[in-house]
Amino acid sequence: MGLEDLQHNFLTGQLEELVKWARRNSVWPATFGLACCAIEMMSVGAADFDISRLGMEVFRASPRQADLMIVAGRVSQKMAPVLRQVYDQMMEPKWVISMGVCASTGGMFNNYAIVQGVDQIVPVDVYAPGCPPSPETLLHAILTLHEKIATGAITRRPPAEPLPPGRDDRWTPEVPDAVRVSTPR
């Protein structure tokens, strides 16, 4: 029982907008700073590139209280199960920003020790490129995520697509949509 069960109509449309407004203006990140990108993430949380104006300055240590996981830094083979565990502990709705090239694709470290892209472990909503991405880039990624939350549907989830052949049921079931949003300058 929840918003998803209501039929999508004129009345619930306004409710959806309210819910989406609330969700995107108070996205609380979970601390998942791993390497150099974590320092840039901390800079975004500090005074010069304040994310407190977006309602996000409370970095929750407990994943249960967080909405957003910003994977900031390179994910090593030893860290991968921990990443998945923390992601699983987060409550729906949850989003993932993959910050930096190491988290997005493995970056400059194409070797035995680094997972080549965190989207092999968790579904990612926004990728922020850079090594490290400057705080402006991360803010852009966060604003892109806000747009995605604003334009996404919450009462009418699309039916689960049949899996392509060759993929079995125990693979992560959530498929992220590719969103191309142009943020006005």
Binding site: G33, A47, Q77, K78, R84, Q85, M108, N111, R170
Partner: protein, 478 residues
Amino acid sequence: MSTDVRDDQGAGPPAGTGAATGPGAAPVPEGVAVRRVERPGLVAETSEGAQELSERERTADVELGLEVGSVLRLPEGAVVDPSDMNVERRDDETMIINMGPQHPSTHGVLRLMLELQGETVLRTKPVIGYLHTGMEKTAEELSYVQGATNVTRMDYLSPLFNELVYSLAVEALLEVELPPRAVWARMLLSELNRLSSHLMWMATNGMDLGSTSMMIYGFREREMVLAFFEKTTGLRMNHNFIRPGGIAADLPDGWEDDVTVICDTVETRTYEYDELLTGQPIFRERVEGVGTLTAEEALALSATGPLLRSTGIPWDMRRTMPYLAYDQVDFDVIVGTYGDNFDRYAIRLSEIRESIKILRQVIEKMPPGDYRTSDRKVTPPPRARIDESMEALIHHFKIFTEGFEVPEGEVYVAVESPRGELGCYLVSDGGPRPYRLHIRAPSFVNLQTLPVLLRGGLVADAVAVISSVDPVMGDVDR
């Protein structure tokens, strides 16, 4: 998946079925159908096996000896009897807890396993490797020009130091002579980086102790330094600017004014930090006497940097084994007395002031001239020359594709990074890529002092002590 459905006529599990009722299974109520399902694919928790801290009865006595630092306090020739170690065996009262690897206060992905007796910490075991990037292996695949991009990401709070030690090692094998401006510019950047790293430490240390204002202040100052770095090197972090042969580009016009502004601002602000923290009774109570280290322990555990200086040993490689042009500038080496958290805090704060002193002298004494060696086999020619000279074009091509070759040999070079002795052991086989690059990471070695620092203290102080050791996990795990 195996299912085990019992109907309401069973009185209890038959004696042979071990799978249905394991040691953790709840007792089955009478008359209730029960289904137990196994899901083998789900990872229940991460386990690093033998790397973790295990209970006392499963730990060898010689490893238990690590906790009392027994080896450190014996006179020469004495022999340790391992069976003397296990004297506090009251297992029902000790508890092993796990901190991390995802934790807001462990400075990155450090996992700490603590054995507690009540609130007192007995044994500590740092479990590392969660950021292992295989950088030493990657370095064997990259040419010497590309090597700085790899090395700079190890200690990501002081990236220019990694590049500096790497470049110094390569130049030692190449036997090139650097122009003085390159040397002094490297010194300028190193001291600015020390400034930004210590400011970052003040910020995170304040945050770990609960002072959010200190976090904001530290980052505010740091932004000024990073803005200068962006102007000079092009990037705020991980610059790849100090390369073998000199620096990548000349300092921008007006850099003296920028650096002077930084020096003046940060210097006045250090007095604000003194007001906020140094004299404040709450802060003093929390850091004085906490995490004490003696000089013998520090030396035995190969600790360097502020950790070693806080115990009273005046070892700062900029003064004792000077590199670059540190013998031509005047600065003090800050030494502590008690080896506790407060000493390390005071040392780092004072080192900020000393770095400002050095920066002012560098501004005055910066020599003009070339910013990199003119040996075209090592540094690329200026871009304008490529259109004019065939030789310049060939050098440019060779350097950026195959790279230059370094004569066969091995060298160990060390610099004083904000965390301690950062060393580079480079083995070359005469080719364009390093044969073996090993970085002696100060944080990796300093972490060994954690069990000694935390022993006997309260678990609430653990975070403060870790913060004062200042580990950077990129350095630890490489």
